[in-house]
Amino acid sequence: MEGFNNILTMFRFLLPGLWVTLSVTAIALVLGFGLGTVMAVARVYGGPLSSRLAAAYSIIVRAVPVVVIIFILFFVIAAFVDLSPFLSGALALGFASGAYQTEIFRGAILSVPRGQMVAARAIGMNRLKAIRSIVLPQAIRIAIPAWSNEVTLVLKDSTLVFVIGVPEILRRAQYASARTLEPFLAFGAAAVLYLLMTFLASRLLDVIEQRTKLMM
């Protein structure tokens, strides 16, 4: 009875961290999605300047460890703009994920058959409309499997915001471990939570993938 009680107490203690983890991940994914689609479009369809800028963003950001980006945002940029640790962490993760999502969407855009763009232009759509109404809706469907992988990566990378003191799951687990001297219980519970989230996210995206599947 005692042991069961401990486990339950542990999960209850970690629960507020679960919301923090989920919100950090959600903000990062949404920001990364916006950055990723815009940068991918710039890379594929942009002029020489914008495609080079987008390529530089993707190459540089992917070369720098995420934790370094978090530190830069929190210690350098947050000195000028008022940013909470929570927001610094979420934005830094989103900025990093955007670079990976740029590559995901770039590949997806390139695998939309060229004739789609040609046909869209032939009925009088301008480039932007053709990209928005014809190419991107197909590219996003193609990108779902790779994007689903990115979701699990961002979910796990969200533990890194722990270094600037955001009270997410890992931070609270470490605190609990120090207090109770039961690291296995604390970190084991944290691991179970990550496993559950990753599993549920993948299942959800599988369902979305099946529902929106393009038959080509």
Partner: protein, 251 residues
């Protein structure tokens, strides 16, 4: 320009790098005229069509559609393309949209029609190509012939002044070409101005007002189908017809 001329192509040139694909093409198309362009592959027939709706930029010469010079440097390309319907060899239907969605997306996104109006017009265009009962299907659920008919309906939905067909039946199994040619025949009867690149000689003989033979980037010979097939003037045309005549494509 003659009243009845809707499209005038003057000294049209197109080169890709050092390869000259079109080497001075002259062609006037009259209102409601049906012209079938024939010729060996790689002689610039498809490039000619792509130049007419500016999917490829000509390197020289000019093209006039009604009163507009569409090759002028500041021509409004998107607006011009709305007046020119294009049907592709590979159909190029939008894969993420239903048959009806394919027909209406140009109406809503380009012409700014309301979605219920577009729906109604889209259904009548599908009716016109005999596919109204397939409106809710996606391209992957349609046969090749049905896809191409949706492609024709999509182009018709923009109320084009002229329709360009780039080998519309070449990607189809022989038993499916008939349904597409029937739709085209019907359009011709309704008075649509059509420029058709095709290897369907029977169709050319029956439907065309004029047959144009192209080779090596120029028009070698043109004339009404009876004359063109019965008494071709140039040696090259005779040879082409002889080769085509022995191929199984002839019916």
């Amino acid at each position: 320009m003659n009243d009845r001329t809707i499209l005038r192509i003057d000294k049209l040139h197109k080169s890709f790098g050092s390869t000259d694909v079109l080497r001075g093409v002259y062609l006037d198309v009259g209102l409601q005229e049906v012209i079938v362009i024939v010729g060996p592959s790689g002689t610039g027939k498809s490039t000619l069509l792509q130049c007419i709706n500016l999917l490829t930029k000509p390197t020289g010469g000019s093209i006039w559609l009604e009163e507009t010079e569409i090759t002028a440097p500041r021509a409004d390309v998107d607006r011009i393309r709305q007046r020119i319907g294009m049907v592709f060899q590979e159909f190029n239907l939008f894969n993420h949209l239903t048959a009806l969605g394919n027909v209406t997306i140009g109406m809503t996104k380009v012409l700014g029609m309301k979605s219920n109006e577009a729906r109604e017009k889209g259904m009548s265009e599908l009716e016109r190509v005999g596919l109204s009962e397939h409106a809710a299907k996606y391209p992957a659920q349609l046969s090749g012939g049905q896809k191409q008919r949706v492609g024709i309906a999509r182009a018709l939905g923009m109320d084009p002044h002229i329709m360009l067909f780039d080998e519309p039946t070449s990607a189809l199994d022989p038993e499916l070409t008939g349904e597409v040619l029937n739709v085209m025949r019907k359009l011709a009867v309704e008075g649509m101005t059509m420029l058709v690149v095709s290897h369907e000689m029977a169709f050319a003989r029956e439907v065309a007002d004029r047959v144009v033979f192209m080779e090596n980037g120029v028009i070698v010979e043109e004339g009404p189908p009876d004359e063109f097939f019965a008494t071709p003037r140039s040696e090259r045309t005779r040879e082409f017809l002889r080769i085509i005549g022995s191929s199984p494509g002839e019916r």
